[in-house]
């Protein structure tokens, strides 16, 4: 995959000939040459207001009318039957009143339900989008579409596209990290590089003992691995010298150095013990805790600080999530699980001055039906749902778009998943129509042939 460059080779060869070649030097040379380095940071054509993204995904379908989209008339229409459109809910159902009251949050007064009391305090920094729309009422397809812009075929994930478009500034950490305790719908496809080169693969971090596979040195002896590295380094240098400084070989030598440093640097990122009590409390964490959503959010901040380009936090799994067909009351425990951690993340980023250039996105794959499912639940509803964005050049303290009186359909300023993606890329300085990759005879885009930037929410 590395484009070979004759000049680069020549430089390396002349250095090798002069016996100046040392592994460290190889790395340095390669790092300076962006053509040989698919992850070198790249500037953008458009001005970027966000440098990195923290993408929080609540799996299962979070009800919009119970969280961010107040529907007084739905409270009033409880028990009545009205025509309700939208996929699986394409049938007449008895309406179910929302289970939580709404109160204004922040100075702006954006209403948020009692499910998110902590997050409500942050509304001055948040733009709530109430007119999201997806194309599919199946968890799997909607989750895939939300991440890859394709509802059926596996395609590169948004994080991979952004890694491909922007590269990354810290080569001792991956450019795209996914913090997921368990597998969401559509599994690894949601953070897959697919046809993009493997450099842009999302690296899954699992809260627990070994957050990244094979991260921990297995040798029992301290320093043993370093000795092995030195020996293979010397052998590799001799091999490289005899082969005219082939950049593929040099790049592989460098990948071992990166991996070697990742073992300690990545470890350090996941070790949140150095954080103050006050910070731990902000995220709703107890000292010593190495999992939970507070841990995920705090580690996200630490990854963002160290230059990771795209960080996804997965909330819930394919079998345990916000999919409340049976009893909407269960939304409470799912909300409680993320409310304080996410609010803590926003506050922490803000006080550190990081919210200005960090885009925080919260979304789910679809909303839920205004009509009842069973006796106390709600069904899948892709016709409309709510998401929000904060920081990174997004207007805070506003809401955008609207749904009809009962939250059954978008009533104005529709934001389709493709528009959502186009807007995220725009904030990062990328024109979604120009970020393309040639594969199998076609130029592919994250937004396929769709997508409009929602310019009304740009600060």
């Amino acid at each position: 995959m590395n484009p070979r460059s004759y000049n680069r080779r020549a430089v390396l060869r002349s250095l090798a000939g002069g016996s100046l070649l040392m592994p460290g030097l190889v790395s340095q040379l390669l790092a300076d040459d962006s053509s040989a380095d698919p992850l070198a940071p790249r500037s953008t054509e458009l001005p970027a207001t966000a440098k990195r993204v923290i993408f929080i995904f609540s799996n299962g379908g979070v009800s919009h009318m119970d969280t961010f989209d107040p529907k007084p008339k739905l409270f009033a229409a409880d028990g009545k039957t009205m025509g309700i459109g939208g996929g699986l809910s394409n049938q007449q159902r008895v309406l179910l009143r929302p289970g939580w009251q709404f109160k204004p949050g922040g100075k702006c007064g954006t209403p948020v339900s009692d499910l998110f009391p902590h997050l409500r305090e942050c509304m001055d920094d948040v733009c709530v989008i109430r007119s999201m729309k997806s194309d599919d009422n199946e968890h799997y397809n909607a989750t895939l579409g939300l991440h890859c812009g394709s509802f059926f075929f596996s395609r590169p994930s948004i994080g991979s596209w952004i890694s491909y478009g922007l590269g990354t500034s810290n080569r001792n950490l991956p450019s795209f990290v996914v913090l997921a305790a368990a597998s969401p719908y559509a599994g690894t496809q949601i953070f897959n590089n697919d046809f993009l080169p493997a450099y842009h693969q999302g690296v899954r971090v699992m809260p627990g003992k070994e957050p990244i596979t094979d991260l921990d040195p297995r040798s029992t002896q301290e320093g043993l691995q370093k000795m092995e590295m030195d020996f293979s380094g010397a052998m590799n240098a001799r091999h490289l010298k005899a082969r005219g400084g082939d950049t593929d070989l040099a790049a592989r030598i460098r990948s071992f150095e990166t991996a070697f440093h990742m073992q300690s640097e990545a470890r350090e990122v996941f070790d949140v013990d150095k954080e103050t009590d006050e910070t731990m409390a902000l995220y709703g964490m107890k000292r010593g805790q190495t999992d939970g959503f507070g841990w995920q959010c705090l580690v996200a901040r630490r990854l963002a600080e160290r230059g990771v380009r795209f960080i996804e936090l997965v909330d819930g799994s394919s079998s345990h999530n916000w999919d409340q067909h049976g009893d909407m009351a269960e939304h409470a425990k799912h909300a409680e699980y993320i409310d304080q951690p996410v609010a803590g993340l926003l506050k922490d980023l803000k006080r550190r001055g990081m919210l200005d250039d960090t885009l925080v996105v919260w979304t789910t794959e679809f909303g839920r039906t205004p009509g009842v499912d069973g006796t106390k639940g709600r069904g899948h509803h892709s016709a409309c749902f709510s998401s929000w964005m904060a920081g990174g050049g997004v207007k805070g303290g506003i809401t955008y778009g609207e749904t009809d009186d009962i939250g059954a359909a978008v009533a104005g300023n529709k934001v389709h998943v493709h528009d959502f993606h186009a807007t995220i890329l725009h904030l990062l300085g990328i024109d979604h129509e120009r970020l393309t990759y040639r594969h199998g005879g076609r130029d592919y885009r994250l937004t396929d042939v769709f997508g409009n930037v929602v310019s009304d929410i740009l600060a």
């Binding site: 599994g187 040798s219 052998m235 590799n236």
Partner: protein
């Protein structure tokens, strides 16, 4: 039904949409939308069936406005058709009908599978055996002449046989009198507008269109989304992919108005902001007056007129040219070429002023050749034998001999079969949302491996994969071969709106790339933008695969396999299927019995009665268990002919809900366009295989010759092996490609012959070090083969070698995967099938999931199991390095390898020698021995300092040495 472009008619004509009846003509009496609202169709008012006066309907109600209608029709008529009253015994009764003669029309439609029913008027059979047709088909039946009876008109639909025969009745239209029913008046557009109408257009309509629509729908903006432009009279009336935008005089039937009203959530224009009501009213008013429009011959006057494919010009493209057999060119250095290949390569090098590289050392060559043909390293004995043979009888003879040995090894098929499996995106699961396992799929994998090993001629290899089941006296193997088609990807979770069109797209996409090197699927939504492939060509092939029965792997809402093919001789298939049916009926009966006895046992009172009931229940349970495990005939996950092979219509913009004209099944026009003969009632797959393999089609030989070349050199002569079209890359050596392709054909499509030809060439034998520094400059990517391109081992080769070195590799064939038994399949998108089965067999036998990549293969650039991988990428990532640093597999196998060396060889220099030979096929140099010794002694002192016993120190030190060697570039790269 409503004409889209009407003849020029005076404006006044448009006002009389309802023509008055001529003398003797029948007169409109009543029309009922049986399960929908009141609306206007063809200028007549239709009543809503629900609650209509003097009317009763018996039957169930059904409404699905998402089914695409065939043929398409206007908005209101479509709405009426897609809602219906249905059942096996439907009755519609009109009461208080005056005495007299009437004519009845009945609209019937079909939403999924065809049904057959009888129609009766006043209990008299007037149309027997009506077939409703395929999904979306509708018919206006009648007129049936009849008289009212006792003040009633009764229309009934009855199932022809029990079980099948549910009729969907949408609308009823009744005329009185028995004269001719006047044709529906076509409302005319206002083509000679009055000055007032023009003023209305200019002052109100044009500004609205310019401000709100032109951005995406005009020639000026360069965008005509959904193929619609609204900047000329012709184009706005013609409409876009969804049909005509305007129906003169009928705002309610006009798509443009529906779009601005945002009535259909799928069609809301403008997309962001709904127009204010007053603007919508302006457009409604305009349509009502016949859409007067002075923009005649505007910029988009020729709407949707994409230039048709210029076939003559298209045929000039290099890959469509007939296959030639150029003579190998004359070269200056006549001593160098070993065979024809070399003349082509050298001639090009000489033109560039370059000389080929030296022959590589025998050790390098045997390592290259062994990995190339078998994916495994040569043993030290094999290295030794090769070197001796080369010294004694020369490189050519040595290579020929070694190649013969390697090609005869089962490992050959395992390696080259895997390359084929990459291209056909092989997976052991279906790819639906729950990723159902396909235990039988591995039969196809094994067939591919065996086909390579027994050198099945490539043309037969292709034929059997496309139509093995249709061959005369077909064998089980030939049935299994069609697993190629069956393996197409599945989608979704539901059965009701199962996206068959996506599975067929996946089939066509892979078929085009694999056998023809063409991206046919680009023609799904429109004619191919770059290559001469029309949308009609795509749907011609679509018809063939739509006429093919794919096996059902199971899906969330229907979790059991069906439609697999029993592996028995053709004349026994029917009997086996009947036995299967009997067996499942029997099982069903036994289960019912068990349930009944279970209830009885529950109710039975304690004591002997209970005991007796329990005994009976246990016996019943045993019977169920026995019946469930009764051996079935083995089955293949393979295709068969569908019940009713048929042509299909074009899907506009690839949207299965938007049908265009029907297309006869045929082969790609650019490749001759042969049509399925009219008397051929098969799916057409047999013919398709013939068309693909016709001597006039140069592509299969070129494409496969290129794949074989790529397998040996890492890069094809055409660098885009799946795309020989305009978006692909031109061949670096076009004459060589044709020479190879014609050799291939003339040698009976023998793949092994091609291997022999290539590996005995001088080109293959070159060192990877170029002869001169200029070679770097003039041939940077080694595209000209001025030296052998250095290759990285594949994911499979790395894993297999690690296991082999550790003495752990199990060389037995793969066999079955340990999938759970089908009775236990309860996979859903919430809990999808997900497994990694540990095995020490070769990596080609790893269970491969379509939507979850195997963790090891994902890290090392393994094939993408969801789409064709024509060429593996070779990325170099820290995760790969972490694997080699820390993964247990590496540590275990390194330890086993080191222990093996230590136990078998007491002297340290011998151990170094053996290790280097096994890893790199060469002995260590003196410097390397020195480094290794220094490294070991450093380790020993470090480890001894921790107080470990000497044996542990020695063992640990050797483990560390081998681990370090396994991380070397020299280990994963082939010179």
């Amino acid at each position: 039904m409503l004409a889209t472009l009407c003849p020029v008619v005076a404006f006044s004509a448009f006002t009389s949409t309802v023509a008055s009846a001529a003398d003797g003509d029948a007169v409109f009496y009543r029309a009922l939308n049986l399960n929908g609202p009141a609306l206007s169709i063809g200028g007549h008012d239709w009543e809503s069936g629900a609650g209509a006066r003097d009317f009763e309907a018996r039957g169930k109600t059904f409404d699905n406005q998402n089914v695409p209608l065939v043929p398409k029709t206007g908005l209101n008529r479509s709405r009426m058709i897609r809602s219906s009253v249905w059942g096996g015994d439907v009755e519609l009764t009109l009461k208080r009908v005056p005495a007299g003669k009437f004519q009845v029309f009945l609209y019937v439609w079909e939403d999924n599978r065809s049904e057959t029913f009888n129609l009766l008027v006043n209990d008299r059979l007037i149309q027997p055996g009506v077939r409703s047709g395929g999904a979306g088909e509708w018919k206006k039946l009648g007129p049936w002449h009849c008289e009212s009876r006792d003040g009633q008109l009764k229309i009934s639909a009855r199932a022809e046989s029990s079980g099948n025969g549910a009729a969907n009745l949408s609308g009823l239209e009744i005329w009185s009198g028995d004269g001719p029913v006047p044709a529906e008046p076509a409302p005319a557009f206002a083509d000679n507008p009055t000055p007032e109408q023009l003023a209305f257009f200019e002052s109100k309509v044009r500004p609205l269109l310019v401000a709100n629509c032109y951005d995406c729908h005009s020639a000026e903006s360069g965008k005509t989304k959904n193929s619609l432009s609204v900047d000329s009279r012709e184009s706005i009336r013609h409409g876009g992919d969804s049909g005509p935008a305007l129906v003169s005089g009928a705002p309610d039937e006009s798509l443009l108005i529906a779009a601005v009203r945002h009535t259909n959530p799928e069609l809301t224009m403008p997309p962001r902001k709904k127009l204010p009501p007053e603007d919508i009213a302006v457009l409604e008013e305009w349509v009502k007056m016949g859409a007067p429009d002075p923009r005649v011959g505007g910029p988009s006057a020729a709407p949707a007129a994409r230039a048709p494919v210029d076939w003559e010009k298209a045929r000039a493209w290099w890959s469509f040219q007939p296959l030639t057999k150029p003579a190998p060119p004359v070269v200056r250095d006549t001593a160098w070429p070993e065979n024809g290949i070399d003349s082509f390569i050298l001639s090009r090098l000489e033109t560039e002023g370059l000389a080929p590289a030296e022959d590589a050392a025998p050790g390098v060559l045997i390592r290259r050749l062994t990995y190339d043909l078998t994916g495994l390293p040569p043993s030290p004995e094999e290295v030794d034998a090769f070197e001796k043979s080369a010294a004694a009888s020369g490189l050519t003879a040595a290579i020929r001999e070694a190649a013969g040995r390697l090609l005869a090894s089962p490992a050959y098929g395992e390696t080259w079969g895997r390359r084929w499996l990459d291209v056909v995106r092989y997976a052991d699961t279906a790819g639906d949302n729950s990723d159902f396992p396909i235990p039988q799929m591995r039969l196809y994998r094994d067939w591919v491996i065996s086909a390579f090993n027994r050198d099945l001629p490539y043309n037969e290899f292709v034929r059997e994969q496309l139509a093995g089941d249709l061959l005369p006296q077909r064998t089980n193997d030939q049935l299994i071969a069609t697993g190629y088609l069956a393996n197409a990807r599945r989608f979704g979770s539901r059965v009701d709106d199962y996206p068959t069109h996506l599975t067929i797209e996946d089939t066509i996409d892979n078929f085009g790339r694999t056998f023809l090197g063409l991206t046919i699927n680009c023609a799904r939504c429109h004619d191919h933008k770059f290559d001469p492939i029309a949308a009609a060509d795509y749907y011609a092939l679509y018809g063939i695969f739509n006429s093919t029965r794919y096996p059902w792997p199971g899906i969330e809402l229907e979790q059991r396999q069906r439609d697999l093919v029993p592996l028995v001789p053709e004349d026994q298939v029917a009997a086996v299927l009947a036995a299967e049916r009997q067996r499942s009926d029997e099982l069903e009966r036994l289960k019912k019995n068990e349930k009944k006895l279970a209830e009885a046992a529950k109710k039975a009172s304690d004591g002997p009665e209970k005991e007796d009931a329990n005994q009976k229940l246990e016996a019943a349970r045993q019977a169920v268990r026995e019946a469930a495990v009764r051996p079935q005939a083995p089955q293949a996950y393979a295709v068969a002919e569908s019940e009713k092979p048929a042509d299909v219509p074009i899907q506009l913009r690839g949207d299965p809900t938007k049908s265009g004209p029907m297309v006869r099944r045929h082969f790609l026009t650019i490749l001759g366009g042969a049509e399925l003969p009219p008397d051929d009632h098969s799916s057409g797959r047999g013919k398709l295989a013939e068309w693909v393999l016709a001597p006039s089609n140069p592509l299969p030989a070129r494409v496969m010759a290129n794949r074989l070349w790529q397998g040996h050199f890492g890069k094809g002569l055409v660098a885009t092996p799946n795309d020989f079209g305009k978006q692909g890359r031109a061949p670096t050596h076009p004459e060589l490609l044709d020479w190879l392709a014609s050799e291939f054909v003339s040698k009976g499509w023998s793949v092994k012959e091609m291997h022999r030809l290539i590996v005995t060439s001088r080109t293959y034998r070159q060192s990877s070090t170029p002869r001169s520094p200029e070679a770097h400059e003039k041939d940077p990517g080694q595209a000209l083969l001025s030296s052998f391109p250095r290759l990285r081992l594949s994911a499979e080769a790395i894993r297999d070698t690690l296991l082999e070195l550790g003495g752990s590799l199990d060389r037995a064939p793969g066999g079955e995967h340990p999938f759970p038994p089908q009775e236990k399949w309860e996979y859903t998108q919430h809990n999808p099938f997900k497994a990694v089965y540990p095995t020490n067999k070769r990596s080609v036998y790893l269970m491969t999931q379509r939507i979850q990549r195997h963790p090891f293969l994902a890290i090392f650039d393994g094939a993408d199991p969801s789409t064709s991988t024509a060429q593996r990428t070779t990325s170099t990532t820290p995760l790969q390095a972490l694997f080699l640093l820390n993964d247990p597999l590496v540590h275990e196998q390194a330890a086993k390898f080191a222990d093996r060396l230590r136990t078998s060889l007491p002297a340290e220099p011998d151990r170094f020698h053996a290790a280097w030979l096994e890893l790199f096929a060469r002995p260590p140099g003196p410097e390397e021995v020195e480094s290794a010794q220094a490294f070991l002694s450093g380790l020993r002192s470090k480890l001894a300092a921790t107080g470990q016993p000497p044996e542990a120190v020695e063992s640990e030190a050797w483990h560390a040495l081998i681990r370090a060697l396994l991380r070397l570039n020299e280990f994963v790269y082939l010179d």
